[in-house]
């Protein structure tokens, strides 16, 4: 494994800009295509659509809604997948029980919400519960089989079966919906024109406040994680561990403690995502494997072990699922699968992954 500590992908802001410039210099055509695509999407969002457009894309409102749903769903996928990718990057542990942690967090948050009536407090409960489970898994089991990737993965698989059956036992097979709190209830108008009525009146997009707030929270968490990874001592340790954990432990750092902390954090994030998922959609049997699949695809597309990659992958997969649902009804999951196949064929390590 190459020692690329502090290279352009993990460097500070100024150096990052350099890296972006260099990337554009190296791939001028790709950069141009991406820039045109971004401008085109922005134009699609903000400009009123010309007449012929609605024949191709359907109503603007539907497109904009799919776009927003995709982006906010991407925020949810990011919350789930980022813990998965952190755990994988540092411990080389493909945690197939990650979907179970997501569902468990959702259920615990639901119980806490029912009990205390506070939606925000349920996040704390979900985070702590899942973090404890994650710590226990790392401390009791994975610590004893370090370096045996496949065996760890099989253990997480067995755990996920047991967990999912336990959860069916406790909460039953029916879907549970977590209620949106009153202060986040209802849609808010957005400064985006979706249609002009015949009498000249403009119609603005109305979008659920809760989804916007959760997306903002996901962005805040993502930025905070990026800062923590790149600007703090613990972040340096984690990045060093991702590159070469043996060397880190030889240098005298307490790698086991770091592993437990990262596992707890990743699991806790999955638990919080469970509440988000329970509010957006619902919690039920089978959601664990749905979100495990989502994390897998997000991480494969974005690049294993990379937080920025998880963000990019989550955005791509969230968008492809929602836009796919609108424009190719029957093949929405197949679309994200196709994206995965194309990425694997062209760049097996993922879009932002390193070899």
């Amino acid at each position: 494994m190459a020692v690329t500590f502090g290279n352009e992908e993990t460097g500070y802001g100024a150096r990052r800009n350099d890296a972006l410039g260099r990337w554009i210099g190296r791939h001028p055509i790709a950069a141009l295509v991406i820039a045109i695509a971004v401008i085109f999407v922005l134009w699609l969002v903000f400009a009123p659509w010309p007449a012929g457009f609605e024949d191709v894309f359907g109503k603007k409102g539907i497109f904009i809604n799919a776009l927003f749903n995709g982006i906010t769903l991407g925020g949810l996928y990011f919350l789930v997948a980022t813990g998965f990718t952190l755990i994988f990057g540092l411990m080389r542990n493909v945690n197939l029980a990650h979907g179970s942690l997501y569902l468990f967090g959702g259920y615990m948050g639901y119980e806490a919400g029912e009990w205390t009536g506070s939606w925000l407090f349920s996040y704390v409960v979900a985070f702590i519960c899942c973090a404890i489970v994650g710590m226990a898994m790392q401390f009791l089991i994975f610590r004893r089989m370090e370096g045996q990737d496949l065996r760890q993965t099989l253990v997480t698989l067995g755990l996920s079966i047991v967990f999912s059956d336990l959860m069916v036992w406790i909460w039953g097979g029916n879907a549970i919906q977590i209620d949106t709190p009153d202060y986040l209830e209802g849609p808010v108008p957005m400064p985006i024109v979706i249609a002009v009525k015949s009498n000249g009146e403009t119609v603005f997009l109305q979008y659920p406040l809760v989804r916007l707030v959760i997306f903002a929270a996901a962005v805040v968490i993502g930025v905070a994680m990026w800062l923590a990874l790149n600007r703090t001592r613990v972040g340096v340790m984690i990045r060093a561990g991702v590159d070469d954990r043996d060397m880190l432990s030889v240098l005298g750092y307490r790698v086991q403690l770091l592993f437990i902390a990262v596992f707890a954090f990743g699991a806790g994030l999955a638990g919080m995502a469970g509440i988000v998922g329970g509010t957006f959609q619902s919690l039920s049997l089978g959601e664990d494997s749905h979100f495990l699949l989502a994390s897998l695809v997000v991480v494969i597309v974005g690049g294993m072990g990379s937080i920025t990659g998880a963000a990019l992958g989550a955005l791509i997969i969230g968008l492809s699922e929602q836009i796919g649902t609108v424009y190719f009804q029957n093949y929405s999951t197949v679309l994200s699968f196709l994206i995965m196949v194309v990425v694997l064929a062209l760049r097996p390590q993922g879009l932002l992954g390193r070899r």
């Binding site: 496949l150 065996r151 079966i161 059956d165 695809v297 699968f337 995965m340 196949v341 097996p348």
Partner: protein, 356 residues
């Protein structure tokens, strides 16, 4: 890859090969498997239809699909979860090209045309999946193949023109040739037995042939094999193709045995059950998957009643499977075969050398 490191040994328990004719030596060396074969051939005379179909038939079919996983995992070091999907695709194709209760999709080709084309399509898919995942290393394989398998499940669930969505296909008859109706319990049993034995022998043969030895070299040290001049990726993809043939045949037999196929035949839980079967049986030897399948089928058939009998909820069957799997993975990474080998080496080697 600790699970894949169990070395290839001759079956234990026949250490005392007599000096004699080559035939006698061969027979005594392979006594356990020959006895097993004899027993399986005579099995229909002592068993009723229920045991033939529900126990023996399912064991051998699931064993074949798990065997194709075992071949990749044990000899190639690639834990591919896509094998059940390959089998399922072959099963779907036999329903699409052959007969089913759905005339608007099925093409009603005769079996001798439908079977080869189903196998070809499934093998092409399996090889393609292999080509996608073989470029990445080790643990990534499990992620990519799991994602592929789950995507296929959702495709079958959402696609109506070809896969008939949620409901799938029913009433897919086994063929009728040589004057035998192969859907009858005893002929079907013998057909399944024939293909299970054939694929077992094929895996055993390939594992000792140059290709299999190269594959094991690739498993142990891909970089060194590359340096010697072997094309590592090509060997991996070829292994996927070979495993896909076994899985595809297993999938067709599965449809004939089960008479129907639906998205839930290729769901995530089924895909994972195949992995569990292979790992519990042991991925060090081709007999492992069949042992694992036997344990799984017996549990699946009788656990419900047994759980109820001891006063527990019969629905906790899945947890029983999960816990059993955990115990095996935690305490005997080479599965039941490994357990037996350790026990046998202790029992047959009184000079105190432990086998593990």
């Amino acid at each position: 890859m600790a699970l894949a490191e169990t070395s290839q040994q001759a079956p234990v328990g026949v250490a005392t090969a007599e000096r004699g004719g080559a035939l006698a030596q061969w027979i005594s060396r392979h006594a356990p498997i020959l006895l097993l074969g004899l027993f399986m051939i005579l099995f229909p005379s002592i068993a009723n239809d229920f045991f033939l179909r529900q126990i023996a038939g399912w064991t051998m079919i699931l064993g074949m699909i798990a065997l194709s996983l075992m071949f990749l995992a044990g000899y190639g070091g690639m834990v591919s979860l896509v094998q059940m999907t390959v089998a399922g695709l072959a099963g779907y194709m036999i329903a699409v090209f052959g007969e089913s209760s759905l005339p608007k999709v099925s093409l009603f080709w005769p079996w001798w045309a439908a079977v080869p084309i189903s196998i070809v399509i499934a093998v092409a898919f399996g090889t393609l999946a292999g080509a996608l995942s073989a470029r990445t290393e080790g643990i990534y394989t499990i992620m990519i193949t799991l994602a592929l398998a789950t995507s296929f499940f959702y495709l079958t669930l959402q696609n109506w023109p070809i896969f008939n969505g949620f409901s799938g296909f029913t009433t897919i008859p086994a063929p009728h040739f040589l004057g035998v109706h192969w859907g009858e319990p005893v002929p079907l049993y013998y057909m399944i037995l024939f293909f299970a034995a054939l694929s077992y022998a094929a895996v055993l043969y390939v594992s000792r042939a140059p290709f299999g030895l190269t594959l094991q070299g690739v498993r142990d040290n891909p970089r060194r094999m590359e340096a010697i001049g072997y094309n590592v990726t090509a060997h991996r993809i070829a292994a996927y193709a070979f495993a896909a043939v076994i899985a595809a045949i297993g999938g067709i037999l599965l449809v004939w045995q089960n008479n129907q196929i639906s998205p839930f035949s290729v769901g995530v839980d089924v895909v994972i059950n195949i992995l569990i079967i292979a790992v519990v049986g042991g991925i060090g030897h081709p007999i492992g998957p069949f042992i694992g399948a036997l344990i799984y089928v017996i549990l699946r058939t009788f656990a419900l009643d047994a759980l109820v009998a001891v006063g527990l909820d019969g629905r906790r069957f899945q947890m029983l499977i999960g816990l059993g799997f955990l115990v095996i993975v935690l305490f005997s990474p080479d599965g039941v075969v490994g357990l037996w080998r350790r026990w046998a080496s202790r029992a047959f080697a009184p000079n105190g050398r432990s086998g593990s």
